[in-house]
Assembly symmetry: C2
Homo-oligomer: 340 residues x 2
C-alpha cells in the first residue's frame, strides 16, 4: 500500500505552496479562483484526503461529540440518539458512541473516560436512571456537557420532557371519562421518569379529591412486566382505569385484560406513555402520551453547541408531552355499552 498523498504532494502537483493548499481546504478568501481550481484538481487527481489526526493535533479540536446512552433497546433513547447524530453532523461534528446495555456508576464512568480519551469537544448523556446522577458529577473538567432527562441538580444543562404534565394530562383525561379513580403501573424504581409519571398521576388524583390507589405495580418497561401487572389488575373488580408508564407495558396490560375477559375500553380504560409507532395498532388502539424524542436530541445538540461556542447557556430546556387520545381510553356511551 502506497503512502497516502500529503499536502506537499498536492502542492507540488498544483505548482503552489502547501500553505495555499491549506488555504483552499479551509476556504480562505485569499486564494484566486483560478488557483483554487488548480489545487482542487490536484486534490482530485491524487485522491488526497486531509489527515484529521494531524489537524486535530495542531488545532486541539477533535471535531467529535460524544454520546453516552443506556438501555439502547428502548424506543426513547434510540430515537434520541439518532436525532443527536443527525444534528451533530449537520453542525460539522463527528459522533462517537459510548453506550452500555445497563447502567451503573462504574460503566458510566468508564463510558465518560472513553470519550475523554477521544478528546471529544462535548458530551450528551442520556441517563435517566437515578444512580447515574452521582456519576454525572464527575463529568470531565472543562468538557461541555448536556444531560437528557437528568436530575435538576445534575450539574449540567438539561433537556427533558415534561413527564409530570404528561402524566397529569393522561390521568385527568381518564377521570374525565367518568371513572372514580385511576390505577397506575409504574416504571422501574431507579428511573427518574418513572417517578415523574407517578407524581403527575398522584397530583391529579389528590387535586380532584379522588382516592389514590396504593402503588402496587412496578414494571421494568417491558411488555412482560406489564402483563404481570395486568393479570393482578384484572383480578380486582374495582379497577376502572389504568395509567401505564409506557406503551410496551400497556401492551402487556391489554393482553392480560383480554385473557381474563375484561374488555378495554368497555370494562377498563387504559392509557400508555411514549407513543411508540405501533401503539396506534394495539388492540384496542392505545391512548398514550407522545414524547418528542427527536426534539430532545436536536435541542441537546443546540445547547451543547452553544456551550462549545462559549455562550451563556440556559440551565435547561423543556420539551412538552402531548396526550394522544385513541380508543383504549374512551368510555363508550352507557347506552351503546352492550349493544355490540
Amino acid at each position: 500500500m502506497r503512502r497516502a498523498a500529503t499536502m506537499g504532494d498536492v502542492a507540488s502537483l498544483a505548482g503552489v505552496s502547501h500553505q495555499t493548499v491549506s488555504r483552499v481546504l479551509n476556504d480562505s478568501p485569499a486564494v484566486r479562483p483560478e488557483t483554487r481550481e488548480r489545487v482542487l484538481a490536484a486534490i482530485e487527481q491524487l485522491g488526497y484526503r486531509r489527515n484529521i489526526a494531524a489537524r486535530a493535533l495542531v488545532t486541539r479540536r477533535s471535531q467529535t461529540l460524544g454520546v453516552v446512552s443506556f438501555g439502547t433497546r428502548l424506543y426513547g433513547p434510540t430515537t434520541a440518539v439518532h436525532a443527536i447524530e443527525q444534528a451533530a453532523r449537520q453542525a460539522g461534528y463527528y459522533v462517537s458512541i459510548a453506550s452500555e446495555e445497563f447502567l451503573d456508576a462504574t460503566t458510566l464512568r468508564a463510558a465518560l473516560e472513553r470519550l475523554a480519551e477521544q478528546a471529544v469537544e462535548g458530551i450528551v448523556v442520556i441517563a435517566p436512571q437515578k444512580q447515574a446522577q452521582s456519576a454525572l458529577a464527575e463529568l470531565p473538567d472543562g468538557v461541555p456537557a448536556v444531560v437528557i432527562d437528568g436530575h435538576p441538580d445534575c450539574g449540567a444543562p438539561r433537556v427533558y420532557v415534561d413527564q409530570v404534565h404528561g402524566a397529569a394530562d393522561a390521568t385527568r383525561h381518564l377521570l374525565d371519562q367518568g371513572v372514580t379513580t385511576v390505577h397506575h403501573v409504574a416504571g422501574p424504581l431507579d428511573w427518574l421518569e418513572a417517578d415523574a409519571r407517578v407524581e403527575g398521576w398522584r397530583q391529579v388524583l389528590q387535586d380532584a379529591g379522588r382516592p389514590v390507589p396504593e402503588l402496587r405495580h412496578r414494571g421494568d418497561w417491558s411488555a412482560g412486566s406489564g402483563y404481570a401487572a395486568g393479570l393482578a389488575l384484572a383480578e380486582d373488580p374495582t379497577v376502572e382505569a389504568v395509567f401505564v408508564a409506557n406503551d410496551p407495558m400497556a401492551l402487556g396490560v391489554l393482553r392480560a385484560l383480554s385473557e381474563r375477559g375484561r374488555r378495554c375500553p368497555e370494562d377498563i380504560l387504559v392509557v400508555g406513555f411514549d407513543d411508540v409507532p405501533e401503539s396506534a395498532f394495539y388492540l384496542p388502539p392505545l391512548t398514550t402520551v407522545r414524547q418528542d424524542f427527536p426534539a430532545l436530541g436536536r435541542k441537546s445538540i443546540d445547547l451543547l453547541l452553544a456551550q462549545i461556542q462559549g455562550s451563556r447557556v440556559e440551565r435547561s430546556e423543556v420539551v412538552p408531552a402531548q396526550l394522544v387520545v385513541r380508543t383504549s381510553s374512551r368510555r363508550p356511551e352507557p347506552t351503546t355499552r352492550r349493544t355490540r
Copy 2:
C-alpha cells in the same frame, strides 16, 4: 483553561525521559517496576491523558471503526448496531456512527466519505436495500469492510441471516396446520430481505404443490402498512393463513382482522418475522421467526477484525433464523373450534 499535561510534563515530574513514560503507557517490559510506579504516580497526579491525535498521527492508526446504518428506527438495525458497539469496544476500538434515515446512493456515499475522513480502520455497513449495493462497490480502497445483510456479490465479506430458510420454515409451519395455502404480506420492494422472504415462502408452496397466491400486498415494514394489507385480506373469505414479512406489519394485520371480525387463529393464521420483544404480547401472541441481531453484530466485528489483522477471511457467514411458535398460528382443534 490551562494547557493539558503532556508526556514531557509527566516525565520531568517523575524524573525520567518522555520515552520511558511512553514505554509505561504501552506496557513495555523494559521498565523497572519501581520506575513504572513513579511514572504512574506522576500521571495520576497531573491527571495526564494521552493525546490520541498525536498517537494516531505517528502510528497511522485511528483505533476507530465506522458503522453505516439506515432506517435506524427499525428494531433489527438498531439492535445490530448496539452489538457492534459492544464488540468493537471490547476489541479496543472506538466506534463512529454515520447513519441516515433513508438510503440512496448519494447518502451512502456521503456516509462512507465521512468515515474515510476519519481514517477509520474498518467499516461495517448495514444496508439491506438493493440500491445500496451499487454504492457499496465504491467502498474506500484499502479499508476493510463487512456488509450486513448485503447482496452476495457486493464485493465485501457478508454476514447475514438466513432469510430464505426462515421464511420457508414459517410457511411450512402454516401448511402443517392444515391450510390449503398461505398468503404473504411482503416488505418494501427495495429491500433484499423482503425478496428473500418472498422466495422462501414461494418455494415451499411450489414444492408442496400448493397454489401460490398472487403477491398483492407490499408494506413498508410499518404497522400501518400491515393494517392496510390486513383490511384487504380480511375481505377475502378464502384466506386461511398469512405470512407477514415482519412483526409490526403483522400487528397491523392482526388489528385489521380483529376489526373485521375475523378471528386469529380460529379463522385465519398469522406468522410474523423478527421476533421483536413485544410480539409475545400481541393479541394473540404472535408466531414469528427470530433473527439473532446481536449475533449479526458480533460476527460482523469478528470478520472485520480478522481482515484488519490481515487474515484471509471467509466470504460470508450465516446466522440461522429460528421459528418461534406462539398462538397466532396454531389452528385450534376443530372440535373445540366453536366451544368458547
